[in-house]
């Protein structure tokens, strides 16, 4: 298969999925019993805000297509003066509406919470990948030994633990040893940038560790299985016969073979990781988009809920496309 064809196909799939998510989001918050407008405008808002939001989202216009206006003016373009198309246009400008509770644009709220979540996910994923890969290599190398059985059991167990429960247990265990809650010590004055980084790291350590525990099992099993397949190949025997150390054989031959399925699983499981992140941030009062979503649920703050979901969906769809891109670049079976 041609590499360009492959990428075009994957890109159009990603874009179509994105469009489906956007339209789903639009209808979920509009076509429902009761007054659909109350999902976007709230009596809790100030009157002038309410009026502004009504204006921005064209809430007095028809939902699908504005056929009446098109017929009256005789122009086809006027038909797109409907809620759906106004929503799409707003979205392309990053207009996600206004929070019911905090009297701020949703985009602003999300932006303020984005960096902590990115740091948490990157730290958690990296830890999970490193430990998963090492344990996977170890398990494959010593297969059917006690070490193999033990790491497998640990990985499967961690994988099926409820994220929120694991988080609470770690919270109880680590009480007093690490700072609890927040992104950095509030009100602290840092003497150097380095000191600040350490403070941030101490705050993210426990949430990231929780995430890593949830994720490493899947990575471990992938690396272990791919490695076992490779170790049965003849060229590994050759490598060993050449006198390469076990470590070199594992790293340079086996891990390379595990890289592609690993990348794929990381992207595929990002949605799962985000689900875990929502629970973890809630438990550790970590100010990311996950805890923002949790707060929005409690306050019935629909625009925020909708906005965060949009962001997470875009993130996962994007990550999956990146994984496909990596795949196309690395896999020799995709010919140029």
């Amino acid at each position: 298969m041609n590499r360009i064809d492959f990428l075009i196909r994957k890109l159009s799939f990603s874009l179509l999925t994105l469009l489906a998510v956007v339209i789903f989001n639009f209808f979920l918050f509009r076509i429902l019993p009761g007054d659909p407008v109350q999902m976007i405008v709230s009596p809790r808002m100030r009157p002038e805000t309410r009026e502004r939001i009504r204006q921005i989202f064209g809430l007095d216009k028809p939902i699908w297509l504005n056929t009446a206006s098109a017929r009256a003016s005789g122009e086809v373009q006027a038909a797109f003066d409907s809620q759906l198309f106004i929503y799409l246009k707003n979205l392309s400008h990053g207009e996600l509406g206004e929070s019911f509770n905090q009297h701020k644009p949703v985009v602003e709220l999300i932006r303020a919470r984005l960096i902590p979540t990115v740091i948490l996910i990157v730290a958690g994923q990296l830890t999970g990948i490193v430990f998963g890969s090492l344990l996977g290599l170890l398990g494959a190398w010593k297969r059917k030994s006690a070490i193999d059985t033990l790491t497998l059991a640990a990985g499967l167990t961690a994988w099926s633990l409820p994220a929120f429960w694991l988080g609470i247990l770690l919270l109880i265990l680590a009480r007093g040893k690490l700072p609890m809650g927040g992104f950095e010590t509030s009100g602290a004055i840092f003497r150097s940038e380095w000191e600040r980084i350490i403070d941030v790291a101490r705050h993210v350590a426990l949430p990231a560790f929780t995430l890593a525990v949830l994720l490493f099992g899947a990575y471990m099993i992938i690396v272990r299985n791919s490695t076992m397949e490779v170790l049965a190949e003849d060229y590994i025997l050759t490598a060993k016969a050449k006198g390469l150390s076990a470590f070199r054989v594992l790293i340079s031959h086996a891990l390379k073979n595990a890289a592609l399925p690993l990348v794929t699983i990381i992207a595929l499981d990002l949605g799962y990781a985000l689900g875990g992140t929502i629970q973890i941030e809630t438990i550790f009062s970590y100010p990311g988009v996950g805890s923002l979503m949790y707060e929005a649920i409690g306050q019935r703050d629909y625009p925020v809920l909708q906005g965060v979901f949009m962001l997470l969906a875009v993130g996962v769809i994007g990550a999956n496309f990146l994984a496909d891109l990596t795949y196309a670049l690395l896999d020799p079976r995709v010919k140029t």
Binding site: L16, P162, L169, I172, E229, P261, G271, Q306, I317, Y327
Partner: protein, 317 residues
């Protein structure tokens, strides 16, 4: 690894399953929890749905003779609540998996059997749902649609049929060209009859292995929803217990007996299902793991997640 010939005889299935340690362990854990769900409430010391008359001293009692696992923030017995919670979890798990089987098997069968553009369209839809982060999506839907148990079951079922569809499709593709199917087709048996009478029995084992794993996803999803405050408010489930414990200061009070047992119960049942599902996949689905259909690299990666205890040597029947 040799190709498995389907269908296995029932006695063979059990024998193979019990040769796998993981299979025995998973089966025992699950069976134990099913027994608790069925008969536990008959033996539970208290009814968690009854509001007890309590004094201040009854609140957050540690484990003692009257309350084996202590009491919660309203003085209710935690042990009884954990026992009753088994019913909710298993009910959600099995009810959702019925939807998963019906939807997933039907869509997978249609896609695999008809091939062509029908297949392409159905699989693109499946992939799209696979890619959307499921817990956030469930949160959004339940927050808008309301937090009833029925809604929760429906949402889980409607989101998790995708793996089933993928697995069934690849199985159908692998057997639809076999002589007995072609022969049935040639003598004019209707596609519906071929699907239900000739193909379905062949793929039942693989379907069964997949559904066991789906039940565990469903149970974990309900627990996560309940923990995040979107569970059915009229029902006591393990997730909602931990949610209450978290919100009502059990962590600062050090009331571990209100947090650890419901979580252990959850971990027990999901782990049992994961072990059993993995053992079953190992027995039934060796083909999935090794085929290198490029276009389905995601499925291959996913399938490799099945813990294959032994790749290179003999084994299986």
């Amino acid at each position: 690894m040799p190709d498995q010939t389907f269908p296995l005889r029932k006695s063979q299935l059990w024998r193979t399953l019990f040769r796998s340690k993981m299979g025995i362990l998973g089966f025992t854990m699950l069976a134990g929890m099913i027994l608790v769900a069925l008969f536990g409430p008959l033996f539970a010391p208290y009814d968690p749905y009854e509001i007890p008359k309590v004094t201040l001293g009854d609140i957050y009692q540690g484990p003692n003779i009257r309350h084996w696992l202590g009491t919660d923030d309203t003085g209710k017995d935690v042990f009884s609540a954990v026992i009753y919670g088994a019913r909710v979890s298993l009910l959600v798990g099995f009810a959702a998996s019925i939807i998963i089987v019906l939807l997933g098997a039907t869509i997978g069968m249609i896609a695999g059997y008809s091939g062509g553009s029908v297949d392409v369209v159905l699989m693109r839809i499946t992939d799209a749902i696979l890619v959307i982060p499921s817990l956030p999506l469930m949160l959004v839907i339940i927050a808008v649609a309301g937090r009833g148990l029925t809604n929760i079951i429906l949402v889980i079922g409607l989101l998790y049929w995708t793996y089933m569809a993928r697995v069934v499709r690849s199985q159908v593709i692998s057997i639809k060209e076999r002589p007995f199917i072609l022969r049935a087709h040639a003598i004019g048996v209707s596609p519906f009859r071929i699907a239900t009478y000739h193909i379905l029995p062949q793929i039942l084992p693989v379907l069964f292995a997949e559904v066991v794993l789906d039940v565990s996803y469903a149970i974990l999803s309900e627990a996560s929803l309940s923990f995040l405050g979107l569970g059915d408010p009229t029902i006591i489930s393990w997730g909602s217990m931990i949610n209450r414990a978290f919100l009502r200061g059990a962590v600062t009070k050090g009331a571990w007996w209100y947090i650890v047992p419901p979580g252990l119960a959850l971990a027990w049942v999901t782990l049992g299902l994961t072990f059993l599902g993995n053992a079953l996949q190992e027995i039934f689905n060796p083909r999935l793991r090794t085929h290198h259909l490029f276009d389905e690299h995601k499925m291959v990666a996913r399938a490799r997640l099945a813990v294959n205890v032994d790749v290179s040597t003999e084994k299986v029947v």
